[in-house]
């Protein structure tokens, strides 16, 4: 509890300043606490957390007087340690819930001891014989050569399918629409040109449909359409005349007498 004593001793003061200036060298408040705890020169299990808290708070105070900016986490720790200090000093309040000062102190001691233990472990680990430094691996490794053997297989089915594919590939033809039930304008025109000469009287267009195209609805539709289109074509050429007496009445044609 030397925190409040003025620094008359120059050396001591310099040491304290060095500690503060070197605050960047510490890995956070826990690291600093661990370092401070060492000054107690006792087993970490028997450490006085109260004394440690006071040391830490004094450190922060000194940093303030020296106008050294401490990182936020150092200040958070200072606030927490001040709280812990008050808990440790005041008699326990039975109505107060939450952990007692002793429990908090015990946990801090545990954390410090654990960190210290891990540091020792790290040091022991790095002091071990290390590969590439103390012991060595084979300098001329003979790598396992992987001999890759490829076995080709084919089944009789593959063979026959392959052959079938070859022998039938000429049979493929490009896809065309099935035109069984379609009569084109050209076909109808050809037909009608041949027949029209005999049509002196008005005749129903539908009677021109070829045999086999009158009954089946699909064929009838196609043939009717193409014959109608063909007759319009013939009218345009002046070969025939066309008429329809009423809406939906039969369409009649006859050869153009004058033509």
């Amino acid at each position: 509890m030397d925190g409040d004593i003025a620094f008359d001793d120059v050396e001591e003061r310099l040491a304290a300043e060095a500690l503060i200036v070197d605050v960047d060298g510490f890995e956070g408040p826990l690291d600093l606490l661990l370092m401070l705890s060492r000054t107690q020169k006792v087993d970490l299990r028997k450490i006085s957390v109260l004394a440690l808290a006071e040391q830490y708070l004094a450190f922060v105070e000194r940093a303030k007087t020296l106008r050294i900016e401490l990182a936020a986490d150092y200040l958070v720790m200072a606030a927490w340690l001040a709280f812990l200090k008050s808990r440790l000093l005041l008699p326990p309040d039975p109505t107060d819930e939450g952990p007692s000062g002793e429990e908090l102190a015990a946990h801090l001691a545990f954390q410090l001891e654990r960190l210290s233990a891990m540091r020792d472990c790290a040091a022991k680990l790095m002091a071990r014989d290390q590969k590439g430094r103390d012991f060595f691996v084979r300098g001329i490794p003979e790598d396992v050569t992987r001999v890759r053997k490829v076995r080709y297989t084919a089944t009789l089915l593959d063979l026959m399918q392959g052959y079938a594919r070859l022998r039938t590939k000429d049979d493929f033809r490009p896809y065309v629409m099935d035109r069984d039930h379609v009569m084109t304008l050209e076909q109808a025109l050809d037909r009608m040109r041949g027949l029209i000469g005999y049509a002196g009287e008005w005749t129903d267009l539908l009677s021109y449909l070829p045999e086999g195209w009158e009954s089946d609805p699909k064929r009838r539709r196609s043939a009717t359409a193409s014959h109608f289109a063909a007759s319009l074509e013939l009218v345009k050429n002046g070969a025939i005349q066309i008429r329809q007496t009423d809406m939906f009445a039969p369409i009649q044609i006859r050869a153009n007498q004058s033509g």
Binding site: E27, L104, H107, R119, D120, C121, K131, D134, F136, V144
Partner: protein, 218 residues
Amino acid sequence: MAEDEEESLFEAPPLAEQERMVEAILFATAEPVTVAELNARMPHGCDAKLALEELTKRYEGRGVSVVRVGESWAIRTAPDLGFLMQKETVETRKLSRAAIETLAIVAYHQPVTRAEIEEIRGVSVSRGTIDQLLELEWIKFGRRKMTPGRPVTYMVTQEFLDHFGLENARDLPGLKELRAAGLLENRPPPGEDLGDDEDDDSQTELFEEPEEEEAHER
């Protein structure tokens, strides 16, 4: 291969011959070889484990020795002869204090989350530190923890064991003492145990069965 098949028709080669084979295979490689791989490469009927035991005995006190690395085996020079090898010495990047401590924490507390590492060290762990250890292949990702957020865990690798001449993670110096002293526990701060309870449980569980833990760690 031809010999392999041939051999399988007959009895396994005598143990002395098997020992020669293990010797040849281990000498040929820089990486540790598993018993399973030895068996796979040797003719049928061979017992690599037995041959390994013989070979290990044979090399006791020699300039090189047969060492166990986890479930694998390798030949390494005797550490006392390291001074002869300046030429072979590999300059390793100097590890930062943070990296060394983080490595030790992973080794002693594995599987451990980053939050736990930070809790132990009292400072945040920079991405670079973990990356460096991963890059050295000294740590690897372990199973995710069954706590909220399912954080990843870190564990040490076979390369770590190989590098530090450890047979397995149980051989870490002082491990037993630390465990007995309760210093490997992840004790939650008093009064904050609500959310941490789960954490603590799984942690304890992981540490109570270290044998099994390590058994299936190659």
